[in-house]
């Protein structure tokens, strides 16, 4: 079953001489439960593509369908609500809120929605992320790997349709990287979670179900 489809996505920055085409007429689709890796060199437009898929940045033209719904037909507020319910984003630099502890960071999307946090799910997540003993720690009291696990937890808490991971291992040593990739694979298997991951590490990319290569804003394979 198709969960996500991009149609002729294009994103341009700047105007006139300084115009940069970051994403150039990209179309592809992702099946539910698929683990997709997007590889490409720096500046190839892969991060921009991910942001377009996640409803973070509006495209210059083209459409993105999630679960059959055109997400850019939504207004800003509804798009924000879409993001917190349907998309989990994992960043290279974690982007945790420094003054909130592990538990609060993870439950942030839930709280924003005004929903009561499902304690069972939280406990289960903390357990599978290996953060049970770190509940009340602040981000700066954790290692890089642990912080990234918190951000995975945050991405998963609302049971989103897709997880978008922007170089989740880019800032980590090889051991932690492996752990993170294992975690992602585990969630992919266990929760049938659709994952789209950006990386420039081919070794990591090869552990995915499918690999797209992007260069100069276009998919070349």
């Amino acid at each position: 079953m198709e969960i996500l489809r991009a149609e002729n996505l294009t994103k341009k920055y700047g105007k006139g001489e300084s115009e940069v085409i970051a994403v150039d007429n990209v179309s592809f689709s992702v099946e539910k439960g698929e683990f997709l890796a997007i590889v490409g060199s720096s500046g190839s437009g892969k991060s921009t593509l991910l942001h377009l898929l996640g409803g973070v940045d509006r495209p210059t033209s083209g459409k993105v369908y999630v679960d059959g719904k055109d997400i850019y037909s939504l207004n800003d507020d509804n798009l924000a609500i879409f993001r917190r319910r349907q998309v989990g984003i994992i960043y290279q630099f974690y982007n945790l809120i420094p003054i909130l502890n592990v538990e609060e960071n993870i439950t942030l999307p839930c709280d924003l929605d005004g929903n009561k946090v499902d304690e069972n799910r939280l406990n289960e997540l903390l357990k599978s992320l290996g953060l049970e003993n770190r509940r009340k720690h602040l981000p700066n009291e954790l290692s890089g790997g642990q912080q990234q696990r918190v951000s995975i937890g945050r991405a998963l808490i609302n049971n989103p349709a897709i997880i978008l991971a922007d170089e989740p291992t880019g800032n980590l040593d090889s051991k932690s990287s492996e752990e993170i990739v294992e975690l992602l694979k585990m969630t992919n298997k266990k929760y049938k979670q659709t994952i789209i991951m950006i990386t420039h590490n081919l070794e990591i990319a090869n552990q995915a179900d499918r690999v797209l290569t992007i260069e100069d804003g276009r998919i070349i394979s």
Partner: protein, 685 residues
């Protein structure tokens, strides 16, 4: 608690310094508003109380109301409260030295009248029964009748009649009047009071006021009723008075309103056709906001509003800056919240919540501070005023209305301060946040810094300039802050200056406290001795004895300035045979020496010469009410010019062809002529 609010509180706690500064900002602005509003309300309350004390706590007096008609006024729904006095009668004051005041006027006052009339007891106490008497001190000081507390005195209580008409204190002594005795009564003097004010005992009244106790259950045939209107009644006091006085309020309304004014200022009821004579206590009534002359109060409010507006505008900028900085620092956080799904509304609300929290802490502290400052100021003012004016206390009333007003205004101030920051935070797109560069939009254009900057400030200056140019918002904020503070400084100083100018116009700055003028004294020596007696009194610090003569010149011989010529031409005064009249003032040697010194002249040079006071401001009105203003120098005399004129005194010519030299031309006036707008020549003799 919602997670975002929790986040705000945490970050406020984390940034203690900035939070503190913002709270202090809010506190100060609230305190300033409270102080200004509080001082105005206290000031007005003080004036109100002062006027009640000096003119009596009533707004209108109905004179000589028939006892059976009293209830009609007492029960009028527009009358808040009232008290009664009764004119018992006149009696001869044996041995009165003032031939215009041969009587005492016995008035009965009930206990509420005792409290509300402006009575200042000098010695003794108020009367408590109808054979006790409180007498006016002027009986002793002016009438030179030596009465003391404890003395018993018998009065032949009488009616003052002119033919058949009964006279009152408003009628001056006439040769044809006589007293018609009613009964004799012995009184005991229990107290001496200061002379009553001139509304209650006019200058020209023929009787000194003495008060006895009035039993309200035993009124005579007539009584005076002193009333305060209700708030509603005060607003429409003219209409209310029309109704009570039996004047048709609807028919020829304007005309009746004029009648009421005239009734209060001297016309009698018979001339107007009203039921009673009245006296309106404008000093007190004007504080109900309907005043006949409430322009002072309006002025006070206006100044207050301007000052509060300045405070609010400046506070908005100060508080806004602090929010702007807070938001800029957290741009990344807002973007991140947005990327994980916080809506614009949530973020906007979050910033407003921050303002709310700061306000919840800052406003009450500010109110406390403001109230405290008000309290201290009122103590200081009391010490100051107390030394200048007796019997005045600056009332410190907890300004409830002012506090509510301050809370609302401070709240509005905070709202406006953080609204733009809230919008800006909501606008941060998640992608900008991830890159954290929302404030610096690369326009593509090159920012060139002028060479002079690099030369003056080096590479640091160059970078700073580019930073300012690229980060327009910061640049703008800084410039606006500077502009606003300069503008505030200028507006406050000019407001103060303006205030001084207005008060100078309203109350010209006289250099003297007392002026004694003896006109047409038959015996010149006697007048001179009186002056001498005053001048040598130990309480006199400095004095000047001024006399003046008139000098006449042919209009065409006067050297007018262009402005002067224009003025006299417009008056059609520049014709052949027309004369110009100079006023020649002599101020006495002592004052002349002081005056000369003030002008920076040498006494020996100036002693036999004259000083031209050339200060000229005239208005020429056209028929349509418009006017042209002539101002500046009227004359074109230079120092050292000679001037020739004829001298004349009281309607007779003293000398002709007097020539003297003008030693200086000035706008400064000697003591005694500060308020005069006429041009004068001053000399020592």
């Amino acid at each position: 608690m919602k997670i975002l609010n929790k986040l705000t509180i945490k970050s406020l706690k984390l940034n203690k310094k900035r939070t503190l500064v913002t709270i202090i900002g809010i506190m100060l602005s609230t305190a300033l508003i409270t102080v200004v509003a509080g001082m105005i309300t206290s000031g007005i309350a003080t004036l109100k109380e002062y006027n009640k004390k000096t003119s009596g706590d009533y707004q209108v007096e109905f004179k000589d109301v028939q006892t059976q008609d009293l209830s009609y006024i007492e029960e009028n729904r527009n009358i808040e409260n009232y008290f009664l006095t009764s004119n018992i009668g006149y009696a001869n004051l044996e041995g009165s030295a003032n031939e215009d005041k041969p009587y005492v006027n016995i008035i009965g006052i009930d206990s509420s009248a005792q409290a509300k009339l402006p009575i200042t007891i000098d010695e003794g106490r108020l009367p408590t029964n109808s054979s006790e008497l409180l007498i006016s001190k002027s009986i002793i000081t002016n009438g030179e009748v030596n009465l003391q507390v404890g003395d018993k005195i018998t009065f032949d209580v009488s009616k003052r009649l002119l033919e058949d008409k009964e006279l009152t204190q408003d009628d001056i002594l006439t040769p044809d009047e006589h007293l018609e005795s009613m009964y004799g009564k012995e009184y005991t003097i229990v107290g001496i009071m200061e002379r009553l004010n001139f509304d209650l005992e006019p200058y020209s009244a023929p009787g000194y006021t003495v008060f006895t106790y009035l039993d309200v259950n035993n009124l005579g045939s007539k009584a005076n009723i002193f009333a305060n209107f209700t708030k509603e009644g005060a607003k429409n006091y003219q209409e209310v008075l029309c109704n009570i006085l039996g004047l048709d309020a609807n028919y020829e309304k304007e005309h009746n309103y004029i009648d009421i004014m005239e009734l209060s200022t001297g016309k009698t009821k018979d001339e107007i056709g009203s039921k009673y004579n009245i006296a309106i206590n404008t000093d007190v009534l004007q504080f109900e906001g309907v005043g006949i002359n409430s322009s002072y109060i309006r002025m006070l409010y206006l100044i207050g509003i301007i000052v509060v507006a300045i405070i609010i505008i400046s506070s908005v900028f100060v508080i806004r800056n602090s929010f702007a900085i807070s938001i800029t620092e957290r741009t990344r956080q807002y973007g991140m919240l947005s990327s994980i799904g916080a809506t614009k509304k949530q973020i906007r609300k979050n910033v407003l919540f921050e303002g709310f929290i700061l306000g919840i802490i800052g406003i009450p502290l500010g109110i406390l501070l403001g109230v405290g400052v008000n309290f201290i100021l009122s103590i200081i003012l009391n010490n100051l005023i107390g030394k200048i004016i007796d019997n005045v206390t600056f009332i410190y009333s907890l300004p409830v209305v002012a506090i509510i007003f301050s809370i609302i205004l401070a709240g509005v101030t905070i709202y406006f301060s953080c609204r733009s920051s809230a919008r800006r935070a909501a606008k941060v797109s998640p992608i900008d946040a991830i890159r954290s560069n929302a404030d610096i939009k690369i326009s593509g254009k090159k920012v060139k810094s002028p060479k002079i900057i690099k030369k003056l400030f080096g590479v640091g200056g160059d970078i700073a300039y580019k930073n300012l140019k690229r980060n327009k918002k910061k640049y703008r904020t800084t410039v606006i802050s500077l502009v606003v503070s300069i503008a505030i400084f200028i507006s406050i100083t000019s407001l103060v200056q303006y205030g001084f100018n207005i008060s100078n116009q309203a109350f010209t700055d006289y250099k003297y406290n007392l002026m004694v003028s003896i006109s047409s004294a038959e015996d010149k020596n006697e007048a001179f001795n009186t002056y001498k007696k005053i001048a040598n009194d130990e309480i006199v610090n400095s004095y000047s004895v001024t006399r003046f003569l008139f000098g006449t010149m042919d209009m065409k011989d006067v050297k007018f300035s262009n402005e002067g010529k224009k003025y006299y031409n417009s008056m059609d005064a520049m014709v052949d045979g027309a004369t110009y009249q100079l006023i020649i003032v002599s101020v006495g040697d002592e004052e002349y020496q002081r005056y000369i010194k003030d002008l920076g002249l040498n006494y020996d040079d100036a002693k036999d010469k004259i000083i031209l006071v050339d200060d000229f401001e005239r208005y020429v009105y056209n028929e349509d009410g418009s006017y042209k203003k002539y101002v500046g120098d009227m004359f074109d005399y230079k120092n050292g010019d000679e001037i020739t004129f004829s001298l004349s005194g009281d309607s007779m010519k003293v000398a002709s062809g007097v020539t003297t030299q003008i030693i200086a031309s000035t706008t400064q006036k000697p003591m005694g002529f500060e308020a005069s707008s006429y041009n004068r020549l001053c000399s020592s003799k």
